[in-house]
Amino acid sequence: MTEILKTQGLSRYFGAVTAAEDINVTITQGEIVGVIGANGAGKTTFINMVTGYLPPSEGSIFFNGRPIKGLGPRKLMREGLARSFQIPQLFLELPVIDNLAIALSAAQNDHLQMLRPVRTAERLAAADDILEQMGITRYRDEMVTAMPQGARKLLDIAIAMLGNPRMLLLDEPTSGVSMEEKHALMDTVMEIVKRRSLTVLFVEHDMEIVQKYVTRVMAFASGVVIKDGPVEEVLADEQVQTLVTGKRRHTRTATEQGDV
């Protein structure tokens, strides 16, 4: 088992506010890791730092054994690190097929080509393939604005996968998706993940989903990892139940605010 992602003493401060502090994590190839925590606990900050969107205040990050601190999302994508977003980041006024075509062209490092059309037969086939796998083929020629939230989440994840990543970070893939759709969505995604044997780290609020899909869980609270280990062990933890899952005190509200 080779380690793929490792952080040491990773911290981020916004002025006097501590968003994340001293995060030490090691993830090995092929692991599927869940991240839980209340809003503002530092989950998205952690993902933003790992994918290069937010520079860490302190600490170091290694991907495939190489230090990657200071590299931006663009370089990290080329290293094989991809992510999806809590709020899907899509090209709303472009057709779905073009959202995928540009991702494919970027993945082939062909995005500066000015004379050949972006929609080559080969790219269209690849795009149709992923649409089929995600089950959103019917939106192929629609604008993204015409898609429901669940389909947008899938498209967001599909785009992340088109870069042929080795590791995928999913930021709340089921937020904003109806209860009925959640499991179908995760089934779809996880099937592709398994087929490609990707390493996945995903942030999730729904403990049912967490229990169903992951083997290992990290629990965040106030910017610190309070527990890291096998699912049952972490969810049974008293501190986790108080601060995160709310089993001991209150039920979580379903607001969808970002952590940044």
Binding site: R74, M77, Q89, L94, P95, A101, N109, I159
Partner: protein
């Protein structure tokens, strides 16, 4: 690479207009020439708009193209129109390559204001240049086209049509290409673009420099047609006019810029003639109506009943 349907149509339209020019009155040929020249600058604005940027300073390159023609003929003895245009394109490209390094960091209002500032600085420099005639500008000397000296406005008319067609064909491909789509992607969502492994600044830079080069062709053709250049070409209201025409046409298709430029020229000509005191008001009202009812420009009249075009 096979010819697309819209490309065949554009070639046919250019040939038809070129032939119609033989039977048209002189003023209309001239107006069409200027409209084609203007449309090229507008296409530069459209290119930037597709990437989400609005330039209030495209007059900068319009002016450089014009002055390159004027100065090349007057001071350096260059006679050939194509060489003069090339000179303008090179000068514009060189300047855009420098300014682009800075400008690609800016968006929205700041991009608009900075582009305007650079254009106004050129205006200021030219106004101060007594040798170049200050605000009066100077006239363009007699030029030739591959050894042929055109005796009427038809020479520059055909030249404008050919260059306009070439640029239109190129941009038609460009808009469908990877980098063309990357520009639109940047307009839609920069975060995602960066996560796709695309350098936003690299894409915007190339787009900006190309827009500048095309704008210079428009300026050069205007100078050849009008026979005069002056600093007003760099004044911000001229750049505002380009933005106006770009909105009028919309970013849907290259041909829209040409139709909009022609429409603008005719509306303006007739407004100036019939309502010499209130033509600005007419332009303002037209602009408001377009934004209200045709937010994607007049091109949406052509595509409204078709879903996504191939």
């Amino acid at each position: 690479m096979s010819l697309q349907k819209s490309e065949a149509l554009m070639i046919a339209a250019a040939v038809a207009i070129g032939l119609a020019g033989l039977m048209s009155p002189n003023w209309l040929v001239f107006t069409t020439t200027l409209a084609v020249a203007k449309a090229l600058v507008v296409l530069g604005v459209v290119m930037l708009m597709r990437s989400g940027l609005v330039s209030f300073g495209q007059g900068l390159f319009f002016c450089i193209g014009g002055y390159a023609v004027g100065m090349g003929g007057r001071f350096w003895g260059i006679q050939d129109a194509l060489l003069l245009i090339l000179l303008g394109v090179l000068a514009s490209t060189a300047l855009a390559m420098i300014l682009g390094l800075l400008l690609t960091r800016y968006r929205e209002i700041f991009f608009a204001m900075l582009t305007m500032a650079f254009s106004m600085i050129l205006f200021g420099v030219l106004v101060k240049s007594h040798n170049l005639g200050s605000t009066d500008g100077f006239s363009v000397v007699q030029w030739s086209l591959l050894g042929w000296v055109p005796q009427s406005g038809m020479g520059v008319f055909w030249l404008a049509l050919v260059l306009g067609l070439l640029v239109a064909l190129f941009l038609n491909r460009f808009f469908q290409s990877s980098i063309g789509l990357a520009c639109e992607a940047i307009r839609e969502n920069e975060v995602r673009v960066e996560y796709m492994g695309i350098s936003r600044r690299q894409v915007l830079y190339i787009n900006y420099v190309l827009a500048a080069a095309i704008g210079a062709i428009g300026g050069s053709l205007t100078a050849l047609a009008a026979g005069h250049v002056d600093p007003e070409m760099a004044y911000w209201t001229i750049s505002g006019e380009f933005v106006f025409i770009a909105l009028l046409g919309g970013t849907g298709h290259v041909a829209a810029a040409f139709i909009a430029a022609m429409l603008f020229a005719l509306v303006r000509t007739y407004a100036v003639e019939f309502m010499p005191h209130t033509w600005q008001m007419i332009l303002g009202i037209v602009l408001l109506l377009i934004i209200l009812f045709l937010p994607k420009g007049i091109w949406s009249l052509f595509t409204r009943h078709r879903r996504t075009a191939p």
